[in-house]
Subunit: 503 residues, 2 copies
């Protein structure tokens, strides 16, 4: 047994017709007891899994469909094992304190492709910058996704998938990939439901959903790299009642052996991120200017679907490489995160976004560059609220009037409609974030500035770098800068400025 690695108790018992047998383990560690539910893994095998988060002596006792007991010494984590990724404010950190900067990609139907393609995908991921991947339990039926999978997660009974009858082979495969993703440092952002269905998963009753979730969570929650994504486009699953989703989240919290990240992905209607079981904001959106309002949830903000680099007819699937990179940087400078995906059409209909394979676009190395830049900083960036925004947040229109009185805000803008004011205020200044007084990042996006007056914290001296997000260059522009400085810029799209405090 090793800290941060799944520990599995496997016991043999009766062959079961379905997965409804109850198995419970009581785990004792340092005088505390924890109850964990097991699951039926097929072939008369029952398993209970848990993730030891600390080193030491663990005792376990299993009861139910099978029984047994034992103990094991859990040794300190292996180098490179960091434990679960947990939210801290609007950012993430591994359990052992290591920074985790989410840089995700998307291969929705990863598990439902043929072996050769799955292996190619894993090979591609091996050298890619991504440390999170969104993929689905269920197969996908959609444009460019008409290939029937070799097997389904559940058996079809009377033309309907039966959540009490898993295809154990599928679940074994899923676990294999979750483990292999973990081995290459990738969080498995597992999508539990989605609307692109013709098998019946998106038409399950509430009870069928709960049966499925109970099984999935008992089985998978001891994998350290699991994240729960309740759905992709939850609001497009028209057969599910809205109140089910919070119930699903609560069930997951009850059944999981340790608390994983959890959120829900929308088509049109954002999920309620105030939901206490929800750990982060997950969005289909490229409205990065809404980040300051979203920050009020106090949770990390992931634009998990901000559009895909590609060339298909749909507007969500034909961004230029530059535009996707631009969106990653826009999110980054707001203190948020984007997720990658690729939708290049080809006669084989192997589009990375659903099926994996290889990258055909130009964004991936640039996303790697962004990741390197963020990793090189001493801490995570947070959006800097401007004076006008602060005035507006704190005192509404009156605050802006006061600021206008001192020349800090244009008087003509004060009477703008309330709901549009925050965005108006935001577009008036550059996008800027910081980490304490150590780092200031400004990102010009598509604005081709040839210079910018930048206000630095008065106390320190700063080295100013100009970054070209497409050419992937960092160039020192000034050293010893302090106070208000004019920074020369190359007057093209995709330029960022980093000010780093000198020590």
């Amino acid at each position: 047994m090793r800290q941060y690695e799944m520990f599995e108790i496997s016991l043999t018992g009766e062959i079961s017709e379905d997965n409804q047998a109850e198995v419970t383990a009581v785990i004792s560690f340092e005088g505390k007891e924890k109850q964990i539910k097991g699951f039926y893994a097929g072939n008369g095998v029952y398993k209970v899994r848990f993730l030891p988060e600390s080193a030491g002596l663990y005792r376990w006792k299993v009861n139910g469909a099978v029984s047994g007991e034992g103990e094991a010494v859990c040794v300190e984590a292996k180098a490179g094992e960091h434990g679960l990724v947990k939210p801290v404010g609007t950012h993430f950190i591994y359990e052992d304190g290591t920074r985790y900067i989410p840089v995700g990609t998307t291969v929705y139907a990863l598990l439902h492709q043929e072996k050769e393609l799955r292996e190619q995908t894993m090979q591609t991921l091996q050298t890619a910058p991504f440390n999170k991947i969104r993929f689905c339990v269920f197969p996908k039926h959609f444009d460019f996704n008409s290939n029937e999978p070799e097997m389904l997660p559940f058996q079809i009974t009377d033309g309907r998938p039966d959540p009490a009858k898993p295809c154990y082979e599928f679940w074994d495969r899923m676990e294999e990939y979750i483990s292999r993703l973990h081995a290459i440092g990738i969080q498995a952002d597992l999508i539990l439901f989605h609307p692109y269905d013709h098998w019946g998963f998106a038409r399950w009753s509430r009870q069928e959903c709960l049966t499925y979730l109970t099984y999935a969570v008992r089985r998978l929650s001891a994998y350290p790299n699991i994240w729960w994504s309740l759905a992709n486009e939850y609001d497009a699953i028209t057969e599910f009642k809205h109140e089910w989703w919070a119930e699903f989240a609560a069930l997951i919290r009850k059944e999981e052996s340790c608390r994983h990240n959890l959120s829900n992905h929308n088509l049109l209607w954002k999920w309620d991120f105030a939901n206490p079981d929800t750990t982060h904001v997950c969005l289909q959106s490229s409205a990065f200017e809404e980040v300051p309002e979203l920050m009020e949830y106090g949770k990390p903000i992931l634009f998990d679907e901000c559009g895909y680099e590609g060339d298909i007819p749909y507007p969500w699937g034909n961004l230029s490489g530059f535009e996707l990179v631009n969106r990653f940087w826009k999110a980054a400078v707001m203190g948020a995160y984007c997720t990658h995906g690729e939708t290049f059409w080809n006669p084989e209909e192997i589009l990375w976004w659903s099926k994996g394979g290889t990258f055909k676009g130009e964004s991936v190395p640039r996303i790697a560059f962004l990741k390197e830049v963020l990793e090189s900083l001493p801490g995570d960036l947070t959006y800097e609220v401007s004076d006008a925004e602060r005035a507006y947040f704190e005192k509404g229109r009156e605050g802006l009037k006061e600021l206008a009185g001192t020349g800090g805000f244009p008087a003509a803008f004060v009477d703008y409609p309330n709901e549009l004011l925050p965005l108006l205020i935001r577009t008036m200044t550059e996008m800027r974030s910081s980490f304490r007084d150590e780092v200031i990042l400004i990102y010009n996006a598509r604005q081709c500035r040839s210079f910018l007056e930048v206000e630095l914290p008065a106390a320190g001296h700063y080295t100013i770098e100009i970054l070209d997000v497409w050419d992937m260059t960092r160039k020192v522009q000034m050293t010893g800068a302090c106070g208000k400085v004019r920074v020369e810029m190359p007057g093209k799209e995709g330029i960022a400025m980093l000010a780093l405090k000198e020590h």
Copy 2:
């Protein structure tokens, strides 16, 4: 006297202290009489001007501060003289029936620069694609605009510009440029007020404004190429009451010798384009998706300030050349029009947008290409309302529900908030416009499509061209296309498709 050319009656009388002397001419033509007001031109000279819109015998009789009478035969228009530009529906046409496709630029303080620079600007315009220019009567005080003009339109009395005391030399200069612009086919979109002021023009009383407008309109309205732009950023002139603007428009209609195009340019609050004296929609905006709603005014739509190609810090002044060209095409495919401007910083602070000079950007030849493409078409383009938009316009949400029932609209989208539905609907389909069943234009903007299914009118056969708006190429892709066709596209930004009916 020649049709479509200004006819001027010039009489000498008393030297006047101010411009308040009244002169009235009665013009008789084919049994009809028209009263036209004259103005004092300085040095004891009084003038009455009018624009003969038809050939024939004109008689005139002047009374007031000076008097006189006479007659003249007006001969048919010279080749190349087309008369006034008038709105017809959402497009324009010259008085003689020639198409006018507005392709404007902006040199706000054209008249207030030194002669050498003014001449350079005129030389640049000579070979440029522009057929409209926005410029101000008053000088401009703003960033990059700190040079005091040689002279002001009005004398300063007690530290305040006096609208009764013109600097006649300035008005002569203005007229010289209006004439010279006309000679090279450029409409003079004259901005009558603006907020970038430190002389006092933007702090005039209502009565002072009326005095000024009366003089300007009596003096300038016989120039065939004059358009009246009540203001630039009218809503930023905080000293003027909102109700003044409609009064100014009405005064212009009363005083002008023939009806010119008239509109008003906003900062934040769009002008009321339903105003009966307003001939077209004039916007500071790049929200081209709002065109279908704006079309309900039944007037041409000009995005007179959609951002400038340049590199200054402000977001409105640092578009890439591509982005400005992209905006021109987005407007074009919505059946609307953009206006050009350039804001490249240089140590001399000569930015085209305010001062003229030469072009430093890359958009101008591409704008010329767009103009050529539009001129090559048999008629003006009008935005094609999609089935979903029509359903929504006609029956609101119920219409969408019906359409969703037949599979023509995603059911999940029906309940989206009312105010956001039109935009949502619009982003779901390609931007497409047409001229009868003769021409269909689709513009992909930044969407990098590698193909698109296009529905052509069933009756005809079409030649399909692919246009690269940046590389300025037109390439025939298919001939004899009809019905639903798959059109291959180069999968990059800035691609348009033209379908031209074969005859």
